[in-house]
Symmetry: C2
Subunit: 238 residues, 2 copies
Amino acid sequence: MARLTNLNLSDQVTNELGKAIIDGSYNNETGFPSEAQLCEEYGISRTSVREAVKMLAAKGLISSKPRQGIRIELPEKWNFYDTNVLTWMLASSPSLTVLREFLQMRFAIEPQAAALAAKYGTKEDIAEIGKALEGMRAAAQTPDGDLHKADLEFHTAILQASGNRFFSQLKDFIRTALNVSIQHTTPAKGSNEAIVEEHHKVYIAISEGNVERAKNLMVYLIDEAMTVIEDEIKAQES
Amino acid sequence: MARLTNLNLSDQVTNELGKAIIDGSYNNETGFPSEAQLCEEYGISRTSVREAVKMLAAKGLISSKPRQGIRIELPEKWNFYDTNVLTWMLASSPSLTVLREFLQMRFAIEPQAAALAAKYGTKEDIAEIGKALEGMRAAAQTPDGDLHKADLEFHTAILQASGNRFFSQLKDFIRTALNVSIQHTTPAKGSNEAIVEEHHKVYIAISEGNVERAKNLMVYLIDEAMTVIEDEIKAQES
DNA sequence: TATGAAATATTATAATACAATTGAAGGGAA
DNA sequence: TTCCCTTCAATTGTATTATAATATTTCATA
């Protein structure tokens, strides 16, 4: 077990088990270990094991009943919008398929968020988007500026500006999606200015309250990434 | 404490505390009770209290550290895509605002899901949509048929057919959204046939693989509900 | 005042005991 | 045999107690 001493024992075990469940190391055919077995396996008390089990149950990964033991829930019950679950899933299968699923979600969420930001965004929220944009511009002009990080800020600022809890809750989700995205898409270097310019257009549309335009421009932004992925998937299949 | 004897003690306490946290009965100013205090308050052992606390922590509602005690996390950390959290939130504030937020999410998710279903849906998935549609038709023609339930099935079948885990994971979310929606929107009775017909069009578009049309028709479906809500909100404000 | 050490309150972990639940095995009767 | 009932056993559920770890507060000292 990876000893992250800044984490509780139960948190550590939660992590280990979560990863193992999601990557398929455990399954209900071979049988999931009982509490007692987990105690032995990790050399810890039942108290901690139970706390870990409860946390995993809270995330939808497992359930447990007397005499029946601990069972892995069907994957459709897993809460993929939980940051940990998401991380565990990506650790186990960072495939192009997952990346495409991410992009499809971004395609649904972000244009709508941009539209809402244009419609309802407060001055403060929109100022944050502007600040993120400045960060992108600065990073694009500096030799080793972290454009990617600034990009993340821009997109999350828009989610925040939507004024809708369900959208802004997806900040971590989108961050993760963008991070994975970056690892796959070969960065078309040299086009930094173009990237910033496209984001700038989105910002303008939002700050002007141009709902439809904000949405369309965001669609355009994501569509580019989507195209790259679809091509890669096609290349792999053939 | 509501004694739901089919639930664990820790589950019961999780429920009680979850609700109380979300409706604001507890807050960090007045101070959140310590484990010992919770034991007294609910008359249970520390074991159960701790398990409940861990579950709430897993859902992002609280965190706890030695000497510092249990603290409520910022609402932006709360995992609203967790079924329990969602239920607790609705129990505390079933306002029009929440309903609008729900609809905005549906507006983002469902048209895209319909598009994906049209593009990638398997025969089996699409057959399920068709079956749900038949259910709607039957319910619409029967005097006291449950059209609403059949409607739910239709929409969740589309999410399933998207072939994207992140979309199909939102089935419970959308179900809840639809349920709340029904409670608010005065059912424009007499138009049952029209409703079924509109859903039928969506089904046709999906089964024919007509991506754009599927998306647009779904937008239309949700937009109607959205309009009703927006009007209600305006009426309330004035 | 600033620094550091000690006291303290709270969570973190462990060990143990017993209760509750439920699936399976076994035994008796139709 | 087949069905139903009882008994048994394995596993989780709950409680109690004790100790460790941690971080805040207090207080003494330079």
